[in-house]
Symmetry: C2
Subunit: 373 residues, 2 copies
């Protein structure tokens, strides 16, 4: 089965190099049904697939069938769908499922969790794995473009707090990331565009040539051409792998992956989680971060416009809701990168090169005003 | 101030050797008021003391005064007291406090948490530190005997789930443990005895001479003689340091520190957390584990009786509530040491030497029956 699959559909592998916590990202078609895609995962007795009400009906059965070749018991936990549910009560559904009841024994410390879904399912399953019995193994099976190019890779896990996004969480690396390109076929257009925000991100912060490629291939990406999607995912993962391998716990360089996120998180928190998709907020946030880079004289204004233009062409918002600058600044101060009340921004001083620094409130307020805040 | 203190009251230091995560346990009188006791903790802008309604009125002001010499802002979060509150809603009070409100800015990633209280406060504060912004620093300031000899040392943090004790948590080492002997003066007798359960534990699993000492000095310990308490705390910490240094994440030997805990956790879960103190449940659990060791022919019956006798002399229960053997076994199967449904017991094959193994249900049922389950 896997041999046949590999003839028709090659599997690209990107490695996250973190010593004994290293793991592969496997990218290809048909991987949910391919036992070989999970090579290296221990044959624990119990596997638990965590998914949501949208994705489970589409792919859970296929994944569970594949996993039964590796695990004696395969269970399924289905969470409500959406960023609004990325909270403790929903996380606790995973713990309840793991601990079982009179009829089902508790999953033991060797059990493996599988996150089948987008960024919310991946972040929550990873955090549940980090905390259950003080840490068990898990595998990411991302089914959205956003999760395949960004959130499933790198070990950041967590949940939201009303005051701030991803405020409660852990660094906990998966054993593997299995990105099945076929799952993108069922992705709503809005989710595809949200995922493109994170693809667009990698060019400005790390790779000018990839930015050029993204500009050129955007129509192919929007048309879901497999060749274009595969390249976008692989190149995004390669860049993320290189950054994470260098700075796993974000003591320095890894922060550049948050380009657009300081602004974006404030939008998400202000509107209520789930009102805008994460990728939409990041898209608008990147336009703001590019503006701020230009306003501070770091980046030519033409390059800032080029970045905003690409975001707009991807169908993402480049103007923010009228949150008001005071509230917006207050929400940004809760950012994890803030230090002693100073907000740290990820900026670019050339397309392909990022830096992290503070900025005068006045400059930030100008940018906010220009983008409708 | 610290120089004067060190003349009248020497500080004993035990080191937990974990490479870059190594830290000191400082044991002495007057340490809550001694800035030198916190040497090595970074001078972060924000410090947050987490305590409970019983301990905060006694020691929070003194600790905050000391910490103001190190941190520009010192805040206090007061939790309800008791094992029944070792749950998510209470943990979330810590996150709410850290994230602040309109008037108080969010604590940043450099902030240091201080756990001022017993085992529950220490476990919850440590877990909050492990999760807040994916991990910040914390210091243990244990004020109960149980916390000073056991729970504040070694980095196990977490909360309870209705189905099992400490089921949700993390390994997260503190920067330091500061055990102020003076705080034991206000400890209720019942809590003192509960702490003695964990002191008594170390002899059977690791040090026959310390077991002899504990038998001999029990009256002095019950009378709170400072010399006896100090020795008990130091020797307990030395043994724990040696075991944790060898096996931080409990992949092997560290499990011996759970002597009596598999039985004890079942009692706590069955009665409802807080009905029996943790140390009381562990005391009874150790008598059961000693019985089981004898029933399996590992330990002379006379030695099992000697262990139970010491527990009884400490004023701890050696008979369990009538939970019923089926329910008791079911609760034990949720233990973190269980694998594929088999309960692993910490047993002793001599006073001073522990091992971990399974046991036939029939033998366990005999032990449970003999101890009133």
């Amino acid at each position: 089965m896997s041999a046949a699959a590999s003839v028709t559909s090659p599997v690209d592998t990107v490695t996250i190099a973190l010593g004994e916590r290293s793991y592969p990202i496997r990218i290809g078609a048909g991987l949910v049904g391919d036992p070989a895609a999970f090579d290296g995962v221990p044959n624990a007795t119990v596997a638990v697939v965590v998914s949501n009400t949208t994705v489970a009906p589409l792919y859970a059965e296929a994944l569970m069938r594949t996993l039964r070749q590796r695990h004696a018991q395969v269970r399924l936990i289905v969470l409500p769908d959406g960023e609004a549910h990325k909270d403790w009560p929903t996380l606790n559904l995973v713990f309840d499922g793991l601990l079982g009841d009179e009829a089902t024994p508790a999953a033991d410390r060797k059990a493996v969790l599988y996150a089948l879904g987008g960024g919310v399912v991946g972040d929550m399953t990873g955090f549940a794995a980090a905390c259950y019995m003080r840490g068990i193994a898990f595998v990411q099976v991302p089914t959205t473009l956003l999760a395949q190019v960004d959130s499933s890779v790198g070990g950041k896990t967590g949940i939201n707090h009303p005051r701030g996004k991803n405020m409660i969480g852990a660094f906990h690396q998966p054993l593997a990331v299995v990105a099945d390109l076929d799952t993108l076929a069922t992705l709503p257009d809005r989710e595809l565009r949200a995922g493109l925000a994170e693809v667009i991100k990698y060019g400005p912060i790390a790779d000018a040539a990839f930015f050029d490629w993204t500009e050129r291939e955007l129509p192919a990406l929007l048309a879901r051409e497999p060749r274009a999607l595969r390249h976008a995912i692989r190149r995004s993962c390669e860049i993320k792998a290189e950054v994470v391998g260098e700075d796993e716990r974000e003591s320095g360089r890894r922060a550049i992956l948050n380009f657009g996120h300081t602004f974006g998180h404030a939008i998400e928190a202000a509107l209520g989680y789930g009102e805008w998709l994460h990728g939409e907020a990041v898209g608008c946030g990147m336009a703001m971060a590019a503006d701020l880079s230009a306003a501070l004289g770091l980046l030519p204004a033409a390059d800032a416009r080029r970045i905003a233009r690409l975001i707009e062409r991807a169908g993402l918002p480049v103007a923010a809701p009228p949150i008001g600058p005071d509230r917006f600044l207050e929400l940004m101060r809760v950012d994890k990168k803030a230090e002693a009340g100073e907000i740290k921004f990820v900026l670019v001083d050339a397309i392909g090169r990022a830096l992290v620094r503070g900025a005068p409130d006045a400059a930030v307020r100008e940018v906010l005003a220009a983008r409708g805040v």
